[in-house]
C-alpha cells in the first residue's frame, strides 16, 4: 500500500533543486507529546514542512489485556474491559458481556437491553465530546474544550449516580447489569441533556463558522472511501468517507432495533467531515436515550439463570439452595462456565466495530479473549493519511482519528 509520496502526489520533486543539495529532516514526534495522546511515536521524514514519509510506532501502552484475562474468571475480566476504550468504558463492558452471553446462550431480560442501550449511548456521547474537545483544544480553541468538559462532567455525574464510578465503572455483568437505574434517572437525564445540547450549540456557534477552524479542517487529512475500506476502517472515521455501515443499525443488538435513529455519513473524508459526523452522532445518541427511556419496560435487570447470576442476598441468607448456588458461582473452579466453543461478536464502539472473539474451553476462565480494536485499523492507515500533509496538520488529523491507547495497544 502506498507509503511513498510520489504515489499520492505524482508531480513531487525529490532531492536536488537549483543545484542545492536538499536533505530531508527527520523528526521524532512522541511518544510523550501533547498531541500524540501520550502513546504514539511517529518518526517523520520532512521536506520542509511536508511529511514525505511517516513511521508510526505504537505499543507504548501494551498492558497485556489478552494474556491477563486468560487467568481471570469470566466476570473478573470486566474491569479490564473498562480500561480498553477508556472514554467509553460502558460500551466495552456491554460488548464483552454480550459476547459471553452468546457463548452461554442466555437472553437477558428486556429491561436490561434498554438499560444497556441507554448507558452505551451515554458513554458514546462522552467519547465524542472528548474527541472533538481535545481536537479543538489542540488547534487552540481552548474554550470549546472547556465547554465540552462541562457537558462531559454532567454525563459523568449521571454515570456515577448509576454505576458508582465516573470512569472505570464495571457496570456490566454476564447476564445483566449490576443494579437498576436510580429512581431519579429521568429527571437527571433531562438536566444532562440540557447541558449537552446547550454546550453543543455553543461550540457549534464557535466553530462552525470560524474561518481558522474551517481552514484547518476542510480538505485536510482526506481519506477517500476506497482507501478507508482497504484499511478496514469502520465507525465515524469511515462514515465520514461514505461507508454507510453501523453495527447498531445493521446488526442490531440490545434495544437498537426498537429505537429510531439516523446514522450520519458524509463523503468528503476529511477532518471537517469527521467533525460533523461526530457532532451529529451526539445528537442522535441523545435521541436514542430519550426513546429508550420512554420505552423502557419494568422487570429484573439480571437474567434469572442459576448458572449465571448470583441469587438475591435475601435468598442466600434464608435458604440453602440459594446459598449453594451462591457458592457455586463464586468458588474457584466453579462459577460461570460457558460450554466449550467460540463466538465472534461485534458492537459499535465509539470508533467503530468493536469485536470480541471469545474461546471457551468449558471452564470458568476464558481460553482466549481477542478484542478487535476499531482504532487499530484506523491507525494502520495513518501513515498514508499524513503523507503530503504539513507538520502542523498532523495535529488535527491525529485528533480526528481518536486514537485511544488502551484500545490500540490493549
Amino acid at each position: 500500500m502506498p507509503t511513498d509520496i510520489s504515489a499520492k502526489f505524482p508531480g513531487w520533486r525529490n532531492g536536488r533543486e537549483d543545484g542545492f543539495d536538499i536533505e530531508p529532516l527527520y523528526i521524532n514526534m512522541g511518544p510523550s507529546h501533547p498531541a500524540m495522546h501520550g502513546t504514539v511515536k511517529m518518526v517523520l521524514k520532512l521536506d520542509g514542512e511536508t511529511v514525505v514519509h511517516a513511521d508510526v510506532e505504537i505499543g507504548y501502552l501494551h498492558r497485556c489485556f489478552e494474556k491477563t484475562v486468560e487467568a481471570k474468571t469470566w466476570n473478573q475480566v470486566i474491569p479490564y474491559t473498562d480500561r480498553l476504550n477508556y472514554v467509553s468504558p460502558l460500551i466495552n463492558n456491554m460488548g464483552y458481556c454480550l459476547a459471553v452471553e452468546k457463548l452461554l446462550g442466555v437472553q437477558v431480560p428486556e429491561r436490561t437491553d434498554y438499560i444497556r442501550t441507554v448507558m452505551c449511548e451515554l458513554s458514546r456521547i462522552g467519547d465524542h465530546l472528548t474527541c472533538i474537545g481535545a481536537g479543538a483544544m489542540e488547534l487552540g480553541a481552548l474554550t470549546a474544550f472547556l465547554y465540552f468538559m462541562k457537558a462531559r462532567e454532567a454525563s459523568w455525574q449521571l454515570i456515577e449516580e448509576v454505576t458508582g464510578a465516573r470512569l472505570t465503572i464495571s457496570y456490566g455483568r454476564v447476564g445483566g447489569v449490576v443494579r437498576d437505574l436510580p429512581a431519579s434517572f429521568a429527571e437527571r437525564w433531562a438536566w444532562v441533556k440540557s447541558q449537552v445540547e446547550e454546550n453543543l450549540g455553543e461550540v457549534a456557534t464557535l466553530l462552525n463558522g470560524n474561518r481558522i477552524f474551517i481552514d484547518r479542517m476542510k480538505g485536510v487529512g482526506v481519506m477517500p472511501l476506497d482507501r478507508s475500506l482497504q484499511y478496514g476502517m469502520t465507525g465515524p472515521f469511515a462514515r465520514a468517507a461514505g461507508f454507510d455501515y453501523d453495527v447498531r443499525r445493521d446488526e442490531p443488538y440490545f434495544a437498537y432495533g426498537k429505537v429510531a435513529f439516523d446514522v450520519p455519513t458524509r463523503s468528503a473524508g476529511d477532518n471537517w467531515a469527521r467533525y460533523e459526523v461526530r457532532m451529529e452522532e451526539i445528537r442522535q445518541s441523545v435521541r436514542i436515550v430519550d426513546q429508550a427511556l420512554a420505552a423502557m419496560p419494568e422487570g429484573p435487570v439480571r437474567v434469572e439463570d442459576p448458572r449465571v447470576s448470583l441469587p438475591r442476598k435475601k435468598e442466600v441468607y434464608s435458604n440453602i439452595e440459594a446459598l449453594m448456588n451462591h457458592f457455586k458461582l463464586l468458588m474457584p473452579g466453579h462459577g460461570i462456565r460457558p460450554p466449550a466453543g467460540e463466538v465472534y461478536c461485534a458492537v459499535e464502539g465509539g470508533n467503530g466495530e468493536l469485536g470480541f472473539w471469545l474461546i471457551s474451553d468449558g471452564s470458568d476462565r476464558p481460553w482466549r479473549v481477542r478484542v478487535r480494536p476499531p482504532c487499530f485499523a484506523i491507525m494502520s492507515g495513518v501513515e498514508e493519511l499524513i503523507l503530503g500533509e504539513q507538520l502542523a496538520d498532523i495535529v488535527p488529523v491525529f485528533g480526528s482519528v481518536n486514537m485511544i491507547g488502551g484500545e490500540l495497544d490493549r
Binding site: 505499543g59 443488538y253 472473539w357
Partner: protein
Amino acid sequence: MQPNSSPPLHDELTARFGDAVLAAESLGGREALVLRPSALLEAVRHLRGALGFDVLIDLCGADYSGYPGHQGDPLCVSYQLFSTATRRRAWLKVYLPLEGARVDSLCGEYGCANWYERETFDMYGVDFAGHPNLKRLLLYEEFKGHPLRKDYPIQKMQPLIPMRNAVDYEAVARARRSQSPDEAGGR
C-alpha cells in the same frame, strides 16, 4: 448478529479450490472455514475479487495448545472478512504448528493486514511470507519470546532499564503455586 448464509460460501470455495477447505466449524451461530495454509492466499484472492469481500475486519492468532479435544496443529490464525456490497461476513482459519509457523501474508490484498500480521507475529511468532516489514508492533525489539503463546509465563518481565525494588511477581506466583497446587495462577 444474524448468522451469515455460509453454506453457499463453503460450497463455493470447495467447488473452486477442492481440498483447500479442510473443515467447517460451527461457532456461535456462524461458520468458520478451516483452510489449508498453503491455499489461504488463493482463497482470499477469490473471496476478495469474485465474491466481493473487500474489508478485512480482523486478523489474529490463538494458541490451542492444551485445549481439550483439539487435534492437529495448535496455532491458529483467524481472519474475519466483510463484504460491503452484500453485507456478509466470512470467517477463515488456518492451523499452524508451533515450530515453523508460516503462512502467506495478505499485505498485497488489504492495507491493514500489515499491522495485524505484525501484531500476530509479535504475540504468537507466526511468520508471514511476503510481509514487507515483519517486526514487532506492540512490544519492543529487545523482547524475547512470544507472550500470547501458552508457554510464556505472564509475569516474566524483560525490563529495558534497571528496575530497583521491583517485586518479582513471577517468583511470588511460583512460590505460591508450589505451596497450594489448586491456586489459580493462570495457564
